[in-house]
Structures are given as C-alpha cells and as structure tokens.
C-alpha cells in the first residue's frame, strides 16, 4: 500500500514500529505536492526545508523513545489563519502578505509537542470569509475530485490537501461551516468542536464568538485522535473551557444501539439537491439498521440563522480586522498623504472585495442608531436558536442532516451572487451560533462523481456521541480517494 494512502493514525503506528520514518513520510508528501500542487493549489506556503529538518529532529526523538504519541512524525498542514512562529501567516490576504508571526498558536503548539511535522500553510478564503476558497489573494484551490469545481471553504486548502494526499491531516477553522462544508465537498472528515474546546490563542479572528479550530482527516479515528491532541484548557484564551474529559478516542466504538437521532424536517425542504438528500437519508437508514432510533422533528428558527450569523460575524469581523492598518505589520500602501490617507489606501488595496463587503456590513450594524435594530436583535436571535437546540437535545442524542445543500459548485459560479452563496451555509451556521459540535463524514457521491457529506450535530460537550455515531456509520463504507479511479 502506498504510504500516502494511510490515515494519520496508521502512519503514526508504522513510524512507531520503525516500518517507515517521519522523514520518509515527509518526503512522500513533498513529492506528492510537487506532483499535484500545480492543479490543486492547496497551499499558500510550503516549507520544504523546514519540514525535512523537523522530520529529522522528530525521528531522532522517536528513536530515543521520547515521542511515542500516535501523531509523532506525521506530516500536517495548517490553515493559514493560525500563527506559526517564523513561518509566514497570511490569512490568504494581501494585507498580511509578508507577515511572519513571533509566536505559535496554542493548537499548533499542542501538535508540535506531540511530534507533528508541519508541511506548510493551506489556502483559504481571505480571512475565512467565503465558502469556496475563491476569495484568496493567492489564487483559487481546486477540488481534487474535479478541478473544475471548488473545494468549498473557507478551509478549502486544508480539506483539498487531505483529499489530494498532500498531507496526512490538517487543521481547519470553522466560523459558520468552514470545516464541515469543504470536508463534505472534498470527501474527507472534519469536526468542529464545541466552542471553547480548542484554544483560539493564535487563531487570527474572523468572528471571535463563533470561531473554533478543528481537525480535517481521512477518517473519524484520525479526527478523534487529533482532537485529543489539540484540545486543551488554555488560560491565554478567556473563552477556553475546562472540560471534564479530553479523551475523544474512547468514542471510537461501532455501536449506535438505542441512540436517538432527530432529523429536522426543515433541512430536507426546498433548496436541497435531491442526490444529496437521498445519500444523507440512506446514511440515516444505515444507522437505523445498526440500532439507532430515527425521528423527524421540527427544528424552529432555521430561517433566522443566516441573517443572525451574518450580522454577528460581520460585526465582530469589522472590529477584529481593524488592526490591519499598515502601521505595525503586513502591507502598507506606497504613496499616501498623511495618516488617514495611509489607512484608507492600505486597507483599500490590502483587502479583497468579500472582506470589504463584510467589514462595511459589520460597521453598519454596529453604528449608532442601528445597533439595537441589527446587532442586539441578532444576539437575541442567537439565544433563541440555542433554546431551539436545547429543546431538541432534551429529546435526541444528536441531530442528523446534510452538511451542505449541494455538492461542490463549479469554479466561478458562486461569487457573482453572494446572497446565494450565504444561503449555502444553512445547515452549518446555526451550529456555530449555538456553540455546538458538528462533524461531516463522507456518505456518498453524486452523479457527477463529487462527494456528499453527512452532518451529525451534538449537544455542547457531546463530541463523543457524534464521533461514535460517525465511526459506526464509517464502518459501513470504505474511504474513497480521488486517486482510486
């Protein structure tokens, strides 16, 4: 079996057994990047030298018995909105084109301690604003299953890199579906943990109250193992939550007997592609066959999630992104007359159109006279949406639905109509508003040969329930790679 086809955990075991090495695996990944990156373009930055050097150091420690964890020596790709000391971090924006952080994000630090080898930084929608990875200032990423289609977004680079074997796993971030939707489009598995589970320290903020870092990998076992490593209580992040348990791998049991799964009727209405609908319902039936109890129900307020999300996320973004001003780091316009002109020119030239749109929208909803009508109302809506989920989780162990209404759209088909693109987030966004965990696992292919994702949503801190169900479902089908053909 080709080394590249291994899951992260399988590779880790081989490395521990000395059947391969961190250096060999890293070299294999770099060769694969050479081969496919011209088409896929998952990465903004590939650190060839650094990766090989790191792999050698890690291998020495493995051989000395100092690194025995499941991810030691396994090459990883990091979404380019997480700070990496000494390695350029751009958020796929021109405004940070030359920004090299002085420190490393806590989640990445946790991986490094576990012996991860960082290959590079993956492409994304600029500042994580988008659903296609087309708003990147460094070119688009294509879907490894079909280069004419997008990989989804905003963690499109991370998901495409995993699908294209350009790394063994990746970190993504999810503010409104940015891990789950591209995982679905690329046929990989991705989980957004409960808000507060993975430290946000060093994650360049988009919507601070919604952002969460999570793993993207080939299967559920990998995701649980990565989550064990990256999740931690971090005093540097005030919104970090001290959980009772950080053991997610104990959920890897093939058993769903008696699990109550709620299926929101509203998720299967207008706008949902019939092929996606069929694949997701077929997956539900598989779980039923294994003993899960399915029940349809009405989840309230679904239609309010998107407007509430875009008000809150954009309000926070308009403030979060104000630090990119040309004064301290990153891009600064060349010719300017005085301070305010420098600000204006730098930000006009440094940000792309989608980021500008959201900054303007966010500034507007926070303006005096509009704050109550938009921002406060959105916060109240958010609280009500959380209540709807609370009601559902009083009855069900988890909620099942699609991750996205369609499979990956064609390159260039989405940006022209942003409202339509925003509506594509319908199944993922409310999960962030309520702070819940959600996982996307591959559950089929459409007639165009593009992957379909099944989404399972859990109550706060109930990752293990959705991991267990996802694991059980995964046992019913083999992992499909775009290179299988």
């Amino acid at each position: 079996m080709d080394l590249l086809e291994l899951t992260a955990v399988a590779l880790g075991q081989k490395i521990q057994k000395k059947e391969t090495s961190a250096v060999e695996a890293t070299q294999a990944v770099l060769n694969q990047i050479d081969k496919v990156e011209g088409t896929v373009h998952s990465y903004v930055t590939v650190d060839q030298e650094g990766a090989i050097k790191k792999a050698k150091q890690v291998q020495e420690k493995i051989e000395a018995g100092q690194l025995t964890g499941p991810l030691a020596g396994v090459p990883v790709a990091i979404k380019d909105n997480m700070c990496t000391e000494g390695m350029r971090t751009t958020c796929s924006s021109k405004i940070l084109e030359n920004f090299v952080p002085t420190y490393t994000a806590e989640a990445v630090l946790n991986l490094e301690k576990a012996g991860a080898v960082i290959i590079g930084k993956t492409n994304m929608d600029e500042f994580a604003m988008g659903s296609t990875t087309e708003t990147s200032a460094y070119g688009i990423t294509t879907n490894p299953w079909n280069k004419e289609h997008v990989p989804g977004g905003s963690s499109g680079g991370s998901c495409a890199a995993v699908a294209a074997n350009e790394c063994f796993y990746a970190l993504g971030s999810d503010t409104g579906g940015s891990i789950r939707q591209p995982s679905s489009f690329c046929g990989v598995t991705g989980i957004k943990p409960t808000y507060g589970t993975v430290s946000r320290y060093g994650l360049i903020a988009y919507g601070s109250s919604l952002d969460q870092i999570g793993p993207v990998a080939k299967d559920v076992t990998d995701c649980a193992t990565i989550l064990n490593t990256i999740a931690s209580y971090d005093k540097k992040d005030s919104t970090s939550y001290q959980r009772e348990s950080y053991d997610f791998t104990k959920a890897l049991v093939d058993d769903v007997k008696g699990m109550k799964i709620g299926i929101p009727k509203g998720y299967f209405g207008e706008g949902l592609d019939s092929e996606v609908s069929n694949a997701v319902m077929a997956a539900a039936k598989e779980l039923e066959k294994k003993g899960a109890i399915l029940e349809e129900f009405d989840l309230g307020l679904v239609e309010y999630a998107i407007p509430a999300y875009y008000v809150i996320a954009d309000a926070e973004a308009s403030s979060n992104l104000s630090r990119f001003d040309g004064v301290k780091y990153g891009y600064r316009a060349e010719d300017y007359k005085g301070l305010h002109h420098m600000y204006k020119k730098t930000r006009s030239e440094g940000f792309g159109p989608e980021v500008k749109r959201r900054i303007m929208l966010g500034s507007f909803v926070l303006s005096s006279g509009y704050y109550d009508a938009y921002y406060l109302k959105a916060l109240r809506t958010k609280a009500l949406i959380k209540q709807e989920f609370d009601k559902a989780f009083a009855k069900y162990d988890m909620i099942l639905g699609p991750a996205a209404p369609t499979t990956a759209p064609k390159v260039g088909a989405s940006l022209a109509d942003p409202i339509k693109m925003y509506l594509g987030d319908i199944y993922t966004i409310s999960v962030n508003l309520a702070g819940l965990p959600g996982i996307s696992v591959p559950c089929g292919m459409d007639s165009k040969g593009l992957p379909i994702g099944l989404q399972l949503i859990g109550d706060c801190f109930q990752e293990n329930k959705i991991l267990q169900a996802a694991y059980a479902f995964e046992q019913t089908r083999a992992y499909k790679s775009p290179f299988d053909k």
């Binding site: 997480m82 700070c83 971090t89 958020c91 940070l96 920004f99 952080p101 002085t102 420190y103 994000a105 946000r200 320290y201 060093g202 994650l203 360049i204 903020a205 919507g207 601070s208 109250s209 005093k235 540097k236 992040d237 005030s238 919104t239 309000a315 926070e316 308009s318 403030s319 104000s322 630090r323 990119f324 001003d325 004064v327 301290k328 780091y329 301070l339 305010h340 600000y343 500034s363 926070l366 303006s367 005096s368 704050y371 921002y375």
Partner: protein
C-alpha cells in the same frame, strides 16, 4: 455684566491603577524602560492574540467604588470602543460602556463655607491605556512605544454637581486621598497617573436647564485646572453676553498661554461602534468577593482625623497635614506606638520633615525613614542625651539615609556634655579671653551673655547642655 451666572461642572477622572502587570496580559506596568520592552503579542495587537483580564484590576475598581459609595455591577462586561489611531494597536480600546463596574455613588466634600456637599458619581469603568506616539523631528517620522499600552485605568465620571473651581479641587483632593489610602494608585497629576477632563457649562442663576457644555483636556495640575475653569467660564459668559452661542466641543488647555483652543466639535464626533468584546467573558462578582474587599478597606482620612483628635489630642492643623498622606499617617502611628509621644512625633513630621521634603522637591509618599529611627531620636532628646541643635543634625541623616540615631550619636561623639567640671574650665577660658563682653555684661548689657554662650557652644562643637552653660556663665559673671 448684567446677568448673574452659575457655572456647572462635571469631571471625568482617569486613574492609572497600581497593578504590577497590565490589564489584559502579563507585561510589567513599570514606568519608563526602553521603548517597546514591556510588550507582548497581546498589548501590541498582534494577530491572533487574546486578552485575559487581570483580577487585581477588578478588585481595585471595586475598592474605589465601595470607597465612593457606588453600587457594584455584579454581572458586567467589557466593550470595544472602535477608532483608528496608531497608539491604539488593535484600533479598538477595550473599555466598558453598557455595564460599568460601579454606578451611582458619591463623595462628600467640604465647601468653602465649612459645610458638606455630596458630589455624585455617575459611574466608574475599567479600560486599557494606549501607547505613546513619539514624533521624530529629525527623520520626520512618527514612532509608537507600546510600553503604556494595556496599563489599567479606571475612569470616574462625576455628575455635573460642582459649581466652582474650589469645589472641583476639593473633589479631586478627596478622590486622590481615597485612592491613595486604598493603595490603588499614586494619583500623580504631573506624571499622568491621574488625569482630569473638565466638562463645563454656564447658565443664568435660577435657570433649570443646563447650558451647552465644553470638555477641557490636557490639565496637568490642580493649578492648571483652576485656571482653565476660570478661563472657560469667562469665555462662555462672554459668548452669551454678546449674543453668541456656546458650541459643544472638546478644547485643549495650554497652561503656559493660559488659553484653550477647540480640538473637535460635536459634529466631528466619531461613532465608536461600541459592542461587547467577544474575546472576554462576563465579569461575575459574587457577594463574597465584595464582602472580602470591603473587609480589607483601610481606615480613610475622615475616620482617621476623628480618631487622631480623640486618641492623640494633637491640634487639628497637625492632623490635617499628617493625614494628607497615607504614608505619613502610617509613619506617625507606627512611631507613636513605639515612643508614645504624639505631639513630638507630630512636630518632627510637621516641621523638619515637611521642610526637607520641600527642600528636596519630594512627595510625602517618598519619605524613606523608619518609625524605629524617628522614635529613637525622640528618646534621645527626651533623655537629654542630645540637645535640639544636634537632634536636627541627626534627623537630617535619618531623613536622608535612615541611620540609627543611637549609633550615629555614639560614633560621632554628639552626646551632650553635662559634666560640670569640664564645662566650667572651658567657660572660664572663654570668659578670660573675652574681657569686652564681660565688661559689657557687667555694665548692664545682659544680652552680651549670648555671645559668650555662642562661643562656648562653638568650642564644645554644639554638644554642651545649654541650660548648664547658662547657669555656669551667670555664676562666673556675677561672682
């Protein structure tokens, strides 16, 4: 001026809190230091960095709130105030708009007529300080020093309850002492650890509605505040008298020119787009925490003054000087506890200490000697081991180097000589050497004895017991 006007003043007072570390990161708050040395990713606004609230800031803010009779907000939060300026690394300041930590308080001030007046406190909120811009004239560029960025501040917003510069100064003095007694800040106006912005309007006496107000900034001393108030009051009255209107604006005071100029008007007022900071969690303050802080509150000046009068029986004036500094009051009490001579301790503080402070341009907070050494000095004088001239000389050493007076007197041989035999022979020699003075004395010029006493003290290097010198001289002269 035909009409009678009343001045209405409210104050916004910023106080830098005396925490060791900044409000949202672990960097030192120490003043000075090379530019950008007390900084980290958080206080320089690096991408991805996050704020974590310093608990001590909340405790100090609550302590000040309790001392000013405020209600404490038990479920509060921080908000972002968004504006672009290079001294503000995130381009938003973390402050409190919607739920400030303290509300609805008051402090009592003494009015000129000797009565008491309550000045209302609208709110106290916590916020972070900004960095400092340094304009380099040589290279024509501006640089930013973030050492002050993230230093904790509280802003105390009063109600428009003051009517004169005197009331404003009394209010500020009151706040300063309360906060100094709490140890929450050193409150130095000249160093910027206490800053006051004055909101002022005038109206005809008897009018119900407030006039249009202006806000005055850049006031660095009590004197500047008093001058700015007088000037602004007159400027506004002149405008009204000549039929013009006062424009709501922010003005900057130039204390050298004794003149203020408009910085920005209400029309230019920015929309700060305040919203709750999503990086920080709600500030939940329990009843227990408030009770704990309350229990730790020190005895404030008013209570101290009352107690001193009863307990020590020293004059009211002494009490007011000593209690004008918490440090001096502590020193007083500790010294009295050792030597049990309140009036003598008070005298040393009131006279010699104050004189030396003034001479060295120091604040009472900078007094550096121990109560033990002042008590020893007092014991030495009470036992007549040293005379008062020597005592002053020794005290200067205590003040400057906190020396042990007993050792010092011993080592420098400063003990008073009261061996009558030894003194008598010295005096006999002086009498013999100054026949003119003896003659004068005998001729009735009794003052001539002063010269002979002086000569004796000089000969004895100041260590003679003056009473004994007098006694022997009179014996010899009248023999």
């Amino acid at each position: 001026m035909s009409k009678q006007y009343e001045t209405v003043i409210g104050l916004e007072v910023h106080v830098e809190l005396a925490t060791k570390t900044k409000i949202f990161c672990g960097c030192s708050t120490e003043f000075g230091g090379a530019p950008n040395t007390h900084t980290c990713p958080v206080c320089t606004g690096m991408p991805g960095s996050l704020p974590v609230l310093n608990k001590q800031v909340v405790e100090y803010a609550i302590a000040v709130g309790l001392a000013t009779n405020c209600k404490i907000t038990q479920n509060g939060k921080f908000d972002r105030k968004n504006y672009f300026y290079p001294d503000n690394p995130q381009n938003y300041q973390i402050s409190q708009l919607y739920l400030p930590i303290c509300r609805d308080g008051h402090v009592d001030i003494e009015t000129e007529e000797g009565g008491k007046k309550a000045i209302g406190i609208h709110e106290i909120h916590m916020e972070e300080d900004a960095g400092k811009l340094v304009h380099d004239e040589w290279s024509g560029c501006s640089l930013v020093d973030f050492n002050r960025s993230g230093v904790p501040l509280i802003e105390i917003v009063s109600e428009p309850d003051m009517r004169s510069a005197e009331e404003v100064i009394a209010y500020l003095e009151k706040l300063r002492l309360l906060i100094q007694y709490l140890g929450a800040s050193d409150c130095k106006l000249n160093e910027g650890s206490m800053r006051a912005d004055v909101n002022l309007s005038v109206r005809e006496v008897g009018a119900k509605k407030f006039g249009t107000r202006t806000e005055m900034k850049n006031l660095n001393s009590f004197k500047a505040i008093a001058r700015a108030i007088e000037s602004e009051k007159e400027r506004q009255i002149d405008l009204l008298e000549s039929g013009e209107e006062v424009i709501q604006e922010t003005r900057r005071w130039d204390d050298v020119k004794e003149y203020s100029y408009a910085m920005r008007s209400k029309e230019d007022a920015q929309d700060y787009r305040y919203f709750p900071d999503p990086d920080l969690v709600p500030i939940i303050i329990s009843d227990e925490m408030i009770a704990e802080i309350k229990a730790k509150q020190p005895e404030f000046r008013d209570e101290k003054m009352e107690r001193y009068e009863k307990e020590y029986g020293i004059p009211a004036y002494d009490i007011s000087v000593i209690t004008s500094s918490k440090h001096m009051a502590d020193l007083f009490e500790q010294t009295v506890a050792i030597c049990n001579s309140p009036k003598k301790v008070s005298n040393w503080l009131m006279v010699e200490t104050m004189r030396l402070l003034k001479e060295h341009d120091m604040e009472p907070e900078q007094i550096n000697f121990s109560p033990e050494n002042l008590a020893k000095l007092i014991s030495l004088t009470e036992a007549n081991t040293i005379n008062s001239t020597v005592a002053k000389e020794v005290f200067e050493q205590v003040f400057a180097h906190d020396i042990d007076p007993e050792k010092y007197v011993e080592e420098h041989g400063l003990k008073t000589v009261n061996d009558e035999g030894a003194l008598r022979s010295t005096i006999e020699a002086i009498v013999a050497a100054n026949p003119k003075s003896v003659e004068d004395y005998k001729a009735g010029k009794k003052k001539a004895i002063g010269f002979l006493v002086g000569q004796t003290m000089k000969e004895m290097k100041g260590k003679a017991d003056p009473a004994m010198v007098n006694k022997i001289l009179i014996e010899l002269l009248e023999a």
